[in-house]
Subunit: 363 residues, 4 copies
């Protein structure tokens, strides 16, 4: 338990950073959905290392292979297994990682929990695990778009204090992919890139905020009371590596307003649709989508792996000093964008199926 | 689906604000735990309406009744069913709520999802639903304390911009319960109370932040990768009414730091225990508790129900104006404190059982 | 865990035979289904004690109360909580049950598992627990009938060696309810009743087989590979008290045939529908309904409670002799019929919703 | 949903008979369990085709590969992914299977459910899917043995009317593996082998009963009320291909007895342990193991694939005649033995972890 996410559209991921590979099983996928490994690969390429000068220079092609569940280019309704083999297996020296706990990594807690861990490159706590999520997210996105025209777009909203200006209702994937930091505000993007490079040059790392929106989400998704849309979204992104916070709509800033300032008044639009004039709710009310754009922000801490020396202890409790060698991301944000999108897609797709099953049966 | 939370220690809540009652079934509770309805009632009294001048004056005694699962004062290991009957059933005029959508409430989304709703007092979306959570949380707290000495303490950290100074390692329940706003910083508490009263007098409402800590949490709780402790905590509190954001440890503020500033260095304490010097991680690393204090903050928006006039529409789409009559909370924060504590207790108790089952079987 | 059944249409039962009451929460019920407590009561009356001379003379009215989830006579889509209060609480002497293990009852195993038990009348292992199942089954039946015209009919097929002749395609509820043993073959029914009375008069008990059919089940229900329809049906009925075996279609007798004798050949009927000429498969192939009548048989052992003296031990391990006093069923079969029907209805309803959610989303 | 089994020790299988491969993810495995691919392979070799003259002559080596979750020969506590690649991919002519429904196979129901299927060799409904179960079962067996000394032994109890005499308390794995039909009664085994060969020579097939026992099972496993041990065992084996019935202990035959004949009287044995003199309950009472040998029997129908001509229809509804070409099992029983053992091991292991988590936490 713990490696499965979702109820009707349900994924289970597996794999350590070193070993046979990483991947995912998607259970409950509707049948007859056209899907190719190229479409999945396109999403994986957005998260893979080595894609630009501001990500880790580690070269991993991360080619995915669909093992089951797809036949003649279409889903069968049976479990879709996707595997990405681990390639980067040069006999690297992991002896230091075997005994020394990296600060703010999961080395010590895995040892505390399991009494044993794969110390090679982070093992299960490695961000390589998210490959399975992003692969599954590619399929979820396709179903959401096909069933309801849903668009999911994530982007870097802030790096440290450098905040972008983005219109949640018009931002495009093209604008996001237009630069290597994945920030659709070009002016901000340039400053962000400079900041990341400076941090890297100092052997340090930085964090920031990813914003992710979903447009054209049908009204009615979400299952009160525990599986509220915002609750499942929060769980999804707070299970990503390095995330420390999440907010929907007005979020923490909304706590500064009064009710009369914060409430979203209803009106009837030209098509006769009931809408809200503002969207401080962020697309959900009472845990259920209201048809407005879903807006979520996720805080990612600065990467824990840095070249600077840090004090730490060994697994035996001896004090020592550690400085990361090798290749790492100075900032996870650009690669986190497709991960956040994937989690939003997985949550929405699961709730789309659940809603259809419960509420549209007797239509 | 959607009304159940947890895996081994699992709760299912039921009930609308009007009707026979609200309650909870707790499945998977360890046997032979001493528990009385008085202990549960004590927690319910912390969340009930009418407890002070800054909560709604609605009088609801909310007496709980244990229907099953407890015998001779001890848990049986069988499902514990707890019922609180709905008492406040005077033939109030709900005709306006039947047709008019309250802004930033769940009236419209419930209609969109189910095509039908109980319009009396919020129905299932009423905060009365949390009675079941708080009752179950009382039992979870007891198990956590008995098994591991865990202490869970929540409090109001901020009302709008009025922020309290609280030491997460020493704050006591007595300090929290020492005033009606449940803020252990007395100076801040007084200003908060004034602010809430002023808001109420203006027919408006305000929001803020609840902070909740768990101390003496054993190392090793949490199940990567999706059921990380922070992910389940986030889901738990983001499923509470009116919550809009959650953060663990450094949270959103941590995104402003560099890795070298943010990382928690390890050391060995006097007892030979591996500890971290700082706690920006907030008590978890890689989804697993590290033995440090768990620190979580939850943003609650200003109460949606206000006396001021707001523009809205009817369920038929006709534009109209609405002003809440009757009794409501000008600020949910004081009553939200036991709810946040309950969700943290439920998550920790579930993971304590899961951890024991998976990792200590072969000890 | 352990007290919940189903995935999208999911029930959780609670309650011991003595204490506040027994009941059920139904989560995931489609909204806008007309349901009344009278309809539920009608099913409960088929399982209640004291209904005829061949059931226990214990008088329990077992009146059900809908606490939530239904408003103005229709389901809300929110959890439906149903409670039946325990009435029969005269200060009966249970001191013997507190210490002496009844043979082939669950007294000893509950003690072994939980280290503690409610010894009054069987506690959680009492057949009173099935009240919640039958209540939920009443709603499941209604949904199945409304959505697809499904008919579920159970009956006593065999008492010891007295076997009834029943046509699975034409048997009616009226024929079943036409006599107190619930066997639609009148000749067999009379002999069964005599046999049960004779057994009762000897202070003994007997068992038999309940057969249950579902007609007009849509093709396509069931989720390979673990949640095959036959697997979920088997789990459902093997979780009933006193059941010792289950078979679908040809069952154990089918193992005597050859493949050429056993296979169900396909043909096209007058309406152009693909059908099978025989139905040894019992309505499912590969775990999925094929549109033919589902035929299941469940073996129930003779009631464990008998007036005859039996050797046993106390909880302290002292050998002793026990003879049941008071009122008990000489044969559970007549009252087991609605329980088996309920489990079949719950499984089919759950799979109807799941199928609709996964496979009809993109229609 | 539907491809996952178990709660704390939870497996998810994937794969069609043709495509990239079949396999399993095991989630929740305790850490630090020594396991090698050779141990898993040994179990897979018991189920693979081509192992003897009475199984299909299809040659599939079915070599398993552990992709994750095991490091330096021990489990990590993270998901264990096991893959068996599909090798037998000669461009066989499946055009007939693409259009013609094989009687008593799942071709027609998969089409009815999903509107699409992989017609190559049975796709997901192929018994190749059980590779994942058997692989996971090998690990479950090891944990059960290590934690509690549990022994699980299955064998062929009956082929058609040829019934073996086996002592459930003393039968050994060596005796079972001593002949190709896996029947420890040598006299019966020889007759069974002759019968299977005769059936094969006639282009036909036959069925029978597998019996499986578990010895040294600790008292207290099983979670009333729905997850009773017998309920989960029934679900497990009724989800195997070709199974039509299951019974525990006295099963269907027990319905012929009276209560006084059937009840298992308690006594105290030499070690002071509370035992039952007889074991008609089959090792469980009230859904919980009582320490006696668990005895389960599973009915398997005659293999649906036969060389004899059968009438059937095409997917378009045209009547036609079909005779299987190629290689198939005349009797699935010998290869079903390790499958039944695996399901029993998976259920017991899951409940061992659950019991430890819930009931031993506060010890």
């Amino acid at each position: 338990m713990g490696n499965t996410f979702g109820h009707l559209f349900r994924i289970t991921t597996f794999g350590e950073s070193h070993g046979g590979g990483v991947g995912v099983i998607i259970d409950g996928c509707p049948p007859r959905v056209a899907i190719s490994s190229d479409e999945i690969q396109a999403e994986l390429d957005r998260r893979r290392p080595g894609q630009s000068k501001i990500t880790t220079p580690r070269k991993e092609s991360d080619r995915c292979q669909i093992l089951s569940g797809v036949f003649q280019g279409k889903t069968l309704g049976t479990p879709i297994a996707i595997l990405v083999q681990n390639k980067d297996t040069r006999p690297q020296d992991y002896s230091e990682m075997a005994t020394t706990y990296r600060p703010s990594h999961a080395d010590a807690t895995y040892d505390a929990k399991y009494g044993f861990r794969n110390y090679q490159g982070g093992g299960r706590s490695s961000a390589r695990e998210t490959i399975g999520r992003v692969a599954a997210g590619a399929i979820a996105k396709k179903i959401l778009h096909q069933a309801a025209g849903v668009e999911i777009i994530g982007y870097v909203k802030r790096i440290q204090d450098l905040e972008a200006t983005v219109d949640v209702d018009t931002v495009t994937l093209a604008a996001v992919e237009g630069n290597i930091v994945r920030c659709p505000d070009l002016t901000a993007a340039e400053r962000m890139i400079d900041r990341i490079e400076a941090s890297r040059d100092q052997g340090d790392s930085i964090g920031g905020v990813v914003e992710c929106v979903a447009r054209q989400v049908p009204k009615g998704l979400g299952s009160p009371v525990f599986d509220k849309l915002e609750a499942d979204l929060a769980k999804g992104v707070m299970s990503l590596p390095a995330s420390k916070g999440v907010e929907l709509g007005s979020g923490f800033a909304g706590t500064l307003l009064t009710g009369s300032q914060h409430n979203d008044e209803f009106y009837r639009d030209d098509q006769g649709e009931i809408r809200t004039r503002t969207n401080r709710s962020g697309g959900t009310q009472g845990g259920i989508s209201n048809g407005e754009t879903i807006v979520m922000r996720v805080a990612f801490k600065p990467t824990a792996t840095i070249r600077r020396e840090q004090r730490t202890v060994t697994s035996q409790g001896q004090e020592t000093v550690l400085a990361a060698r090798g290749r790492h991301d100075p900032c996870v944000l650009p690669r986190a964008v497709p991960m956040v999108e994937a989690m939003m897609a997985l949550v929405l797709c699961d709730h789309l199926l659940r809603h259809h099953g419960q509420c549209h049966l007797l239509d």
